[in-house]
C-alpha cells in the first residue's frame, strides 16, 4: 500500500504527515506530530476529548480521516493560548477550578472557545448544550459550567 503525503495548516503553521492507513487525524496529531493535547478516550465521537477545529468547525478529530485534511486548517488545543497567555476560556476554567484529572479539559477548552467565539454571552442552557459532546468523569460539570457562566457574565 503506498503512503499518502498530506499537507495542511496546523495551528497556523504549514504541516505535513505521511499516512499509510485510513488513520484518524487524532492518531496523526498524537503519534506523528507530537501534539498530545487532543486526547483519545473513545475513538467513536462520544467523549469529545479529541475536539479540534477543522476549517473553523468544531469536530471530533477521531472521526476525521487524516487523508481528508489535505489543504485544510486544523487548530488543536495547543493553538488556543497565545504563547503562554491563556485564552479567556482557559483562564475562566483555571480561575473556577474547573479541572480535576484534566483528561477532558483540552476538549472542553476547544468546544467552549468555539462557543464563546460564536456567542460571547451564552445562557446556562446554551453552555450546557454546547458542551453536550464533552464528557467529564470527574467534576460533575458544576465548576465547568460555573467557569463559563462567570465568563459570560450571566450569573
Amino acid at each position: 500500500m503506498s503512503a499518502l503525503i498530506i499537507n495542511f495548516t496546523l495551528n497556523g503553521e504549514p504541516a505535513n504527515a505521511r499516512v499509510l492507513a485510513p488513520l484518524s487525524l487524532l492518531d496523526v496529531l498524537r503519534d506523528q506530530l507530537e501534539l498530545p493535547g487532543s486526547k483519545n478516550a473513545c475513538e467513536q465521537g462520544e467523549c469529545g476529548s479529541c475536539s479540534v477545529m477543522l476549517d473553523d468547525e468544531l469536530v471530533c478529530s477521531c472521526l476525521v480521516m487524516a487523508g481528508d485534511i489535505e489543504g485544510s486548517r486544523v487548530t488543536t488545543v495547543e493553538g488556543m493560548a497565545n504563547g503562554r497567555v491563556l485564552n479567556a476560556v482557559q483562564q475562566a476554567m483555571h480561575e473556577a477550578g474547573a479541572v480535576q484529572c484534566g483528561f477532558c479539559t483540552p476538549g472542553i477548552v476547544v468546544a467552549a472557545t468555539d462557543l464563546f467565539e460564536a456567542n460571547p454571552k451564552p445562557t446556562t442552557d446554551e453552555i450546557k448544550e454546547a458542551l453536550a459532546g464533552n464528557i467529564c468523569r470527574c467534576t460533575g460539570y458544576g465548576a465547568i459550567i460555573r467557569a463559563f457562566e462567570d465568563l459570560a457574565g450571566t450569573t
Binding site: M1, S2, L4, V19, L20, A21, P22, S24, E43, Q44, G45, E46, G48, S51, E57, L58, V59, C60, C62, L63, V64, M65, G67, D68, E70, G71, A111, D114, E129, A130, A132, G133, N134
Partner: protein, 263 residues
C-alpha cells in the same frame, strides 16, 4: 491508500464507479475504521464539492450538515437535527451519510417518510429519483447501486401545515433513538412515521387512516390512535431496549406529537 478530493460531483461519481468508498462527515464511517470493521484503501471525500452542499427550497444536498439543517431546515427536520449527537457530530455529519448508513435509528428518516420525500441518486450514467420507501430496503441496506451516490433529498413542494419530531432515549443529549417519530397534520390529513421500530423507517398507515377521518379528535380517538400505532410497529429487543417498551413508547410518542400538531 488513496483519498480523492474532487471539487466536482462528476469527478466523485467517476471515483465511485471505480470503487472508491465515499466519505462525507465521517461520523459513521470513521467509527467503523477505528474499530477495525472497515479498512478502505480508495476513498472519495465529498467535503469539497459545492453541489452537494446546496440547500435551496425543497432540495437538500446530500452533503448538508445537521448543523445547517438545525438552523435552516423545516421545523420537524430541524428538531430531528438538533438531537443528532453533539455539536461536534452535527458539524460534521450529513443528511446523505445518515441515509446511506440506513441505520434503523437514523433520526433524519422519519421526517422524510412522513412527508413522502424523494431521494435523488446519481451515477456516471445519469440521475434517478426514487421515493423514500424504495430507498430503504432493510437494516443498513438501501437500493443504491454500487456506482451510485446520493446527490440530494427532495421534499414535496408543499409541506403539511403542522409537523413535529420527537425522540425517546435514555438521556437528553448524545443518544441514539429508542424510538423516534414524526407526526404531520394538514387540515385533517395526518401522517405518522417512526424510526427504530422496524428494519426501515415506517408509516403507521392504519393509525393515519383512523385519525385522518376525525376533525376534532377526542381523548378516546387519541387513545385509539395510540393503540393502533403500538399495534402496527414491528420492533425488536436489542441492547438498547425491548420490543414491549418500544411498542408502548411508539404509541405514546406519536400521540404526544399529534397533540402538539393539534394545538
Amino acid at each position: 491508500m488513496n483519498v480523492h478530493h474532487p471539487t466536482t460531483f462528476d469527478e466523485a461519481l467517476a471515483a465511485k464507479a471505480a470503487g472508491a468508498v465515499p466519505l462525507a462527515g465521517g461520523t459513521d464511517l470513521m467509527v467503523e475504521v477505528n474499530f477495525g470493521h472497515a479498512r478502505p484503501t480508495e476513498v472519495v471525500s465529498l467535503r469539497r464539492i459545492d453541489e452537494v452542499k446546496e440547500f435551496e427550497g425543497r432540495r437538500i444536498g446530500s452533503g448538508v450538515s445537521w448543523r445547517r439543517i438545525e438552523n435552516h431546515g423545516p421545523r420537524a427536520l430541524a428538531q430531528a437535527a438538533r438531537t443528532v449527537g453533539s455539536p461536534q457530530i452535527r458539524n460534521a455529519g450529513t443528511i446523505g451519510g445518515n441515509l446511506a448508513t440506513a441505520s434503523p435509528a437514523g433520526d433524519g428518516h422519519p421526517f422524510l417518510a412522513a412527508v413522502d420525500a424523494q431521494i435523488e441518486l446519481a451515477s456516471v450514467d445519469g440521475r434517478r429519483t426514487i421515493p423514500w420507501d424504495e430507498f430503504f430496503v432493510g437494516v443498513k441496506k438501501t437500493s443504491m447501486a454500487d456506482d451510485e451516490l446520493i446527490s440530494a433529498v427532495v421534499l414535496p413542494d408543499s409541506l403539511p401545515e403542522r409537523h413535529e419530531f420527537g425522540k425517546i432515549g435514555v438521556r437528553n443529549a448524545m443518544v441514539i433513538s429508542t424510538v423516534c417519530a414524526v407526526v404531520t397534520r394538514d387540515d385533517q390529513r395526518t401522517t405518522v412515521a417512526l424510526g427504530s421500530v422496524a428494519p426501515t423507517p415506517m408509516r403507521a398507515r392504519r393509525a393515519e387512516e383512523m385519525i385522518s377521518a376525525v376533525s376534532n379528535p377526542s381523548d378516546k380517538d387519541l387513545a385509539e390512535f395510540q393503540r393502533l400505532v403500538s399495534d402496527e410497529v414491528r420492533p425488536i429487543t436489542d441492547h438498547r431496549s425491548t420490543e414491549e417498551y418500544r411498542r408502548h413508547a411508539a404509541g405514546v410518542l406519536s400521540r404526544r406529537l399529534l397533540e402538539r400538531c393539534l394545538r
